[in-house]
Symmetry: C2
Subunit: 151 residues, 2 copies
């Protein structure tokens, strides 16, 4: 086992807990870029374990794969990322997370107001503000609140 032979996809899979198919999929989405050995098989750096772990964490925070790709673009291209590099993009994640918590919290406060006052015109109270509904969890088109219901 020479020094820089790299990890096979199966090894990377068992180190990260991801399925082999998922790792190939991430490659197709531009999240990771292995090289190939003489036989055409994928080989990964040890730093890719951390890279994939980061992907998994960012997903839990609600980022889409394209968004994660953006964040990862903040890492150096030609050298192995240092702890400082990771800390830097980790802070980018935090900003994202803060926004989500904020939105949810504001939504909750609005809901409380509706329950408290008894008016229960929830669309007006909690949804009428277009800022709050902006892709809080979007899958497929959604036409929301073009006009406020009066009932």
């Amino acid at each position: 086992m020479p020094v820089s032979e790299g990890l096979s996809i199966g090894a990377l899979a068992s180190r990260t807990g991801l399925a082999v198919s998922a790792i190939r999929y991430y490659e197709a989405q531009g999240l990771i870029a292995p090289w190939r050995n003489p036989g055409g098989q994928r080989r990964y750096q040890r730093a890719d374990i951390r890279r994939l772990s980061f992907v998994m964490i960012a997903q839990q925070f609600g980022l889409s794969l394209p968004e994660i790709r953006e964040v990862l673009a903040g890492l150096p291209d030609k050298r192995t990322p240092t702890p400082r590099d990771w800390a830097r993009i980790g802070k980018g994640l935090r900003v994202h997370l803060d926004q989500r918590i904020d939105t949810l919290t504001r939504l909750r406060d609005n809901l409380d107001g509706c329950i408290g006052c008894g008016c229960l015109s929830l669309p007006k109270c909690a949804l009428y503000n277009p800022d709050d509904r902006a892709k809080s969890k979007g899958s497929g088109p959604r036409y929301l609140m073009g006009d406020a219901p009066e009932d």
Copy 2:
């Protein structure tokens, strides 16, 4: 325009901002139950406007359609829901929302710890706890952290 002719699907769509196709889909998912007029067209009660508004809000809070159906099951079946009825299930929503905010906040704190201490073994810090990763946003199987990477 006699008293209880009800709303057509198009009228309900424009009152709620939903697409007609979405309303039919919700019916298929058991979220709303219109009756039919002699010609076979769907007719809705005015209270259904609120029902659909509630569905939209619950979606923003991250509930799936089956979950929303469960919550709506807490409404009276044979009479029009009163403000008190809505307030009651609104509180159910609040619990759900609180949990999500909580999970996200804990996750954020963990991330802060990782960045702060410089260890950056993010999988261990933020993910190793199985509670946190339980379907925070699940779409498709995910094999997470069977073992903690050492790199």
